[in-house]
């Protein structure tokens, strides 16, 4: 065992959220990406996220300073050679991820735990070509990482018991409840949520109920914190579409066949909170604008594109 230093690849919302969560737990973290500019942008977003926590009394200014002080950025992937844990949160894509893990396998000492955050590629698939596949494990953190207290841990055929134990300790450090999943694309959360969102989008598209009403019905009806549309906006519509396509390909189950509305939205750039608009519209601070739920008319006319 060595001292903890966590390296995060990928600067999307999950990468940012993980860096923030790790630093909040008191551990140092290095965020790695090829683009120094994007890294700066990611740091800025983390700082904003911390500010909004302060505004909700969840954090103090002093704690924010401490947290930011524990986050470094780098464009040099060799930094991973000093890490105890390396997590990948780069965009989905089997080949890119495989390639990253093959490289990390060469760079990192054998006892470094390598973690994939992928929900759609399995650990066994990702480990092809690794010399030490026993240290690769799947930990699927959900966005927003800070608020979602669960992580889906999945082992590949060759993942070692030691790696599994280390992963469990890592989850505990971040205060996340572990659920164990047999590796299969989509794990539990993505696999169950996508068909629900698909159906909700169909109900909306068919004009059966309005956007807000569908969310309210699911939220209050089933005691959820958020309805499917609000959740989808948070997760990113483009990411959801690509997961649907992958799972449809993998399972041949038409429940994953993306609804036309979702395709239209992605085509029009309505990707959720990150693009300012998805099923709802959002202000620059990421707050949902009241009464801004998507109505079908908006996307049926050619005006939809020019509106952006």
């Amino acid at each position: 065992m060595s001292q903890k230093l966590v390296v995060v690849f990928g600067i999307g919302p999950v990468g940012q959220g993980l860096a923030q969560a790790v630093a909040t737990s008191g551990c140092d973290v290095v965020l790695i990406d090829e683009s120094a500019e994007k890294l700066q942008e990611a740091l800025g977003k983390i700082s904003q996220a911390l500010d909004s926590e302060i505004a909700r009394w969840g954090l103090t200014e002093g704690e924010k300073k401490g947290i930011l002080g524990r986050i470094r950025t780098s464009t040099d992937m060799k930094e991973a050679s000093k890490a105890s844990h390396v997590i990948e949160t780069i965009p989905e894509g089997l080949e890119v991820k495989r390639d990253l893990f093959r490289k990390l396998d060469g760079i990192c000492p054998v006892d470094t735990l390598l973690i994939s955050n992928s929900a759609t590629s399995t650990v066994t698939d990702l480990s092809h070509g690794m010399k030490y596949p026993g240290r690769l494990i799947g930990m699927h953190f959900l966005n927003p990482v800070r608020k979602t207290p669960v992580v889906e841990v999945s082992r590949g055929i060759q993942t070692s018991d030691a790696s599994f134990e280390t992963a469990k300790r890592f989850a505990k450090m971040l205060d996340k409840t572990v659920i164990q999943v047999y590796e299969y694309p989509g794990l539990v959360t993505t696999r169950v949520f996508l068909p629900m969102l698909n159906q909700a989008a169909k109900v909306l598209n068919e004009g059966i109920a309005g956007c807000e009403d569908i969310d309210t019905a699911m939220k209050l009806g089933f005691g959820l914190n958020m309805g499917p549309f609000a959740l989808a906006d948070q997760m990113g519509i483009d990411a959801l579409l690509s997961w649907m396509e992958q799972l449809h390909h993998e399972t041949n189950d038409n429940a994953f066949l993306p609804s036309k509305l979702i395709r239209k939205m992605v085509r029009a750039g309505l990707n959720g909170i990150k693009s300012g608009r998805g099923f709802y519209r959002y202000g620059p601070d990421g707050r949902r604008i009241d009464g801004s739920g998507l109505s079908i008319g908006e996307l049926s006319a050619p005006a939809a594109i020019s509106q952006r």
């Binding site: 909700r56 009394w57 969840g58 103090t60």
Partner: protein, 402 residues
Amino acid sequence: MKILVLNCGSSSLKYQLFDMTDKSVMAKGLVQRIGIAGSNIVHRKGDDGPKVTINTEILDHKDGIRKVFDLLASADNGVVKSLKEIEAVGHRIVHGGDKFASSVLLTEEVLQAIRDCIVFAPLHNPPNLKGVEAVSEILPTIRQVGVFDTAFHQTMKPEAFLYGIPYTFYEKERIRRYGFHGTSHRFVSKRAAQLLKRPLEELKLITIHLGNGCSICAIDKGKSVETSMGHTPLEGLIMGTRSGDVDPAIILHIMKRHELTPHEVDNLLNKHSGVLGISAESSDLRDLEEGWPTRSERANLALDVYSHRIKKYIGAYIAVLNGCDALVWTAGVGENSPIVRSIVCKELGWLGIEIDPVVNDKTWRGAEGDIATPNAKVRNFVIPTNEELVIAEDTLEIVGKR
């Protein structure tokens, strides 16, 4: 006899080595960032020798404690020739629940009972236990003693420790007032008896511990009969960043209205409230006192609310005790803030409390003394606290007995 005192936190630990022949501090220090990159030990010989910072990899508590032992016996920074000279280790343990009314020798059975108290202090007891376990792995034969923050208050009666909520919460989950800072209240009450030259067993005392956390304690014949901190250290007096007493309905109202999570409201009450929350300037009384009373309206207000709460408790505790021989001020603010002491004691003459402004103003920075006017019915002591020494003394007494 040489005794090591340890206070283990989640990623840091403080240590002090005492020579109990004259109760002097041989060495002390702080291990920081345990298990985190950039860890170090800040060490000094004696009570105020020059600081030495040793940057070294520290994997966990055991590794940290091993390095502390190595340091204490090292050629250049050490103070003992061999670790065999250290005969016992005393640990600060935050929560002993209602299982411990005094310090105890740490046996496996006792450790299990402390583990059972984790539910009451989930952030504090686990690292305390890690420290004990680490020492027994490194020096399996050394005797260890646990000194609890809660133990001194175990003499409170049900009328003082029960809350007005359904009894089942007490019965099934042990939800009740426990109180904290017990080591400090006990230490200064004993010292007050010495200063009064009377046996503790015939005294009624009110001890006021004002540090980062603040609590006040009514002590009758040497026993705690009432204290302001409750099930957790959040209740009672207003503190640097903690709210102290609050109408519980306010919390529910704020949570609902602002859709706050339990974590957020916990932070609101523990880190954004108190003197900091009222003044919006600082959590440190020294900052607010600078330029008092002309600094700012809110700084004055914070000081006034802070002091008023203390005054209110003094009145309540005089009633609980049916009298009072002396007030005792201790810890950072209590020892060093003539301003707070003067605001609190203003217009308490009817109760026999009156302080001499000149003596009050010069009794600080480690000074001990009586700040009451010669004719005041109630004595008014400032007594520097020393919790580490109490832990060392308790440890000596317990291992000496065997």
